[in-house]
């Protein structure tokens, strides 16, 4: 098994007592790239990860590493022979082993000095050298996380699967841990799957994003494609806020720019460019982190929603003019 081979799911399905947790899903994880799988809880993302890992057997379809079949109608390579690294939300470090022993756990085949040297190399890569003899309960959440990643990567797996690896971390340290951790994952040059429910995390850190809902993949593509060209409203919502408006309630001067023919039009709040001026009135304004969300009085009682930078000094009651970016208006057929 070459570590450069992609990890492929080919129309895999898995149901639990009649519910299709994963329904004819095909997804290819390219080597050296991070593929994010996003979806709500219960969407089937963890089941898909478990199918890749071999913790579950598909009811139909195949899991392949390059051309080698890992799971299929007749064959099933058990988890312990797949050489696929796993990182869990709760880290699942072995509580009775030190950082060094945790990272060395999968290196059983090596001589003990080689094993230690290899474990130490990975520990250093993830910046944990000062904690090498500590036990899991002595580590911070971020340190546990990095130990879990070093442990998964040390045996040079053919792929690595990360199940919500950052959601257990305190938000203040999440960004810092995430950058270092995902860099190590990317540098390993193997297919990697990042399961997450955090759209921002998926967009910022992955090369490819797959959106899963009720066991089906809605759309796969680069983060840009998915954000700018969602195929459905559900797919659009998965990556960020979307608002709807009746086509008949669009201001006349926008109609020519917004293509399509459906009755309702969806748009991202960034599609509206708000500036001081006239033509529209701000009904409400509130802070949302680094931006402020504003609600603008529209036509036919349907409000328009936009965001603008802090410091733009737009208040409720202000008169504003609104321009649009037609690319962020979507026309969904259904």
């Amino acid at each position: 098994m070459s570590s450069r081979a992609p990890l492929i799911a080919e129309t895999v399905s898995r149901s639990f007592s009649g519910n299709n947790a994963v329904d004819a899903v095909s997804l290819t994880l390219e080597p050296g790239k991070i593929t994010s799988l996003i979806g709500h809880s219960g969407s089937g993302k963890t089941t898909l990860l478990r199918l890749f890992a071999g913790m579950e057997r598909p009811d139909s379809g195949r899991i392949l590493s390059g051309s080698i079949e890992l799971s299929g109608p007749k064959s099933h390579v058990p988890i312990e022979r797949r050489r696929i690294g796993l990182v869990f939300q709760d880290f699942a470090l072995f509580p009775h082993l030190s950082v060094r022993e945790n990272v060395g756990f999968g290196l059983k085949r090596l001589q003990s000095d080689e094993r230690n040297a290899c474990a130490e190399r990975w520990i250093e890569k993830l910046g944990l050298s000062h904690r090498i003899d500590a036990y899991p309960h002595q580590l911070s959440g971020g340190e546990q996380q990095r130990t879990a990643i070093a442990r998964a990567l040390a045996p040079e797996p053919v792929a690595i699967l990360l199940d919500e690896p950052f959601s257990g971390l305190d938000p203040a340290m999440r960004d810092q841990v995430r950058d270092a951790a995902l860099e190590a994952v990317r540098n390993a040059g193997i297919p990697s799957l990042l399961v997450t429910h955090d759209a921002k995390e998926a967009m910022v850190h992955s090369d490819k994003v797959a959106i899963i809902d009720r066991g089906k993949i809605l759309q796969t593509g680069t983060p840009e494609t998915l954000y700018n060209a969602p195929v459905s409203e559900l797919a659009a919502r998965a990556l960020g806020p979307v608002h709807q408006i009746k086509r008949s309630n669009l201001p006349a001067e926008w109609l020519s720019q917004v293509s399509g023919s459906a009755d309702a039009v969806a748009y991202r709040p960034e599609a509206l460019q708000v500036s001081p001026g006239s033509g529209f009135r701000v009904i409400r304004q509130r802070l949302a982190g680094a931006v402020s969300e504003i609600e603008i009085e529209g036509i036919g009682g349907e409000s328009l929603f936009a965001v603008c930078q802090l410091g733009s000094k737009i208040q409720s009651g202000d008169d504003v003019s609104v321009g649009i970016n037609p690319a962020l208006f979507f026309d969904f057929k259904e």
């Binding site: 963890t46 890992a53 913790m55 058990p78 988890i79 312990e80 022979r81 797949r82 050489r83 696929i84 690294g85 796993l86 869990f88 939300q89 709760d90 880290f91 699942a92 470090l93 072995f94 509580p95 009775h96 756990f105 999968g106 059983k108 899991p136 309960h137 879990a148 442990r151 998964a152 045996p155 797996p157």
Partner: protein
Amino acid sequence: MTLLVGISAKRGQTRFQMPRFSLSPRIIPPSLIVALVGLPVFAAVLTGLTAGDGATWDHILQNRLIPYTLTTLSVLFITAIVMLGLAVPVAWLITQYDFPGRAVFSWAMILPLAMPGYVMAYAWADLMGVAGPLQSWIRESTGLSARDYWFPNLFSASGLAFVLATTLFPYVYIIARAAFSMQSRASIEAARSLGARPFDLFWRVSLPVALPAILGGLCLALMEAAADYGAADFLGIQTLGVGIIRSWQSFGEPNTAARLALMLILIAGAFLIAARIFQGRRGTQQTSSRWQSQERAKLSPLFGFCASAACSSILLVCFAAPVFRLVWLALENSASAADLAPLIRSTLLLGALGAAMAFASAIIFSLSSKRSAALQVATRLIAAAGYAAPGAVLGLGALYILRETGQALSGSVAIGFLVWIYVSRFTSAGVEPIQASLARLPKNLDLAAQSLGSTGLRQFLRVDLPLIAPGAFAAALILFVEILKELPATLMLRPFGWDTLAVRAHAYATDERLAQATLPSLLIVLAGLAPVLLLSWRLGQTERT
């Protein structure tokens, strides 16, 4: 059984209130109970330390203390190994794998707890005897005579260890099962993704994590094993428990008895302390509910069959075969139930009286330890002392108190002392389920009740008692059955005409009138099943939630 309660109590014991030191009339009843529970232990220990005259120290040391202690320790050593060998692999199989009958074995494995060691010894002595079914079958099928082959002898130290291990291994099993099933499945799956095979999973991941808990359970089970008198006496093994009663009754050497009792309580106490240390070392386990509910790995038909066969044979040896043999013997000899009536009457009376007193003192203990930190420490210490002290030691303590106070061991005085010893020995068994129930109550409930004008007894009756009713019921049941099974102290202190089922069964069995011992033994097992089934039901509930 006492320790089972401890196990189920562990979950709830999180409440700790800031110590409040106060002197009020309220601390009088609990203080009296502390004295009541502690005094027999204190009397036995004090006599053990100070007893002077009579037999010379050399004689005691050379002929009694050293040999009895060595025998006890070697029996305990073998018992420990057999218990680990039975309990740990079974717990591992049942928590990790799916095989035919797994769900039944999961709870049935604790059934042997219903058998007191002495009943197990009677049944197996008959099964393994020269005229018993096993040896008869060997002779019939091979044509050999009894002298031509070797057959294991139950009347030996390893025989006693076998008997004790088969009745007490469920303690270790319950703890090992809890420890294995509490382990995060994610860490098992992480280990597998790193290439670990089932063998590695057991030795490198699960066992090291579960080991402190398992050793803690083992120590408690060994403490119970050290307290045995009936099985050792029947099998003729000179353990400390046997030695205490023989020194007092047969050799007429009270000082020897005191020294042996001191040694026994040291050994039992050491196991209790070791158990607490191990329990404190249980590491923090990371668990995540989303990975918990995964299915157990299904064993292949061949391995599944082997697992079922192994579990079935353990149940056969530790429960089904001895119970079946007792029933068989009872039917074969058409044992008459007529002379059982007085035995049942005195057993029920003593059991009810002892259980009521122990229950009341357990309630007072539990409630008062909510209020005063000093009492909390005192009650824990004293309850632990009573818990660790074997019945023979407490009985001896009572006999010393009788001697010092110049009372004769007869009539109501004897019953009073016997009930006292029951309270001393078993109060802690009642305290734990009650405290576990109390610990689950919301913290501010007391304050809420008080703000509504309910205090003291009124608060207890209207608020605490209804809420802890399930725990209190379990406590009462356990106390009753424990007292009903109790042998050495009852043997030492019962007044004339007050033989219990356990005492009479033991008398018959040691007289080699095993057939007559069967009915009382079966009744004891039947009574013992009640708390065991209650416990297995509760364990099943915690497993599901």
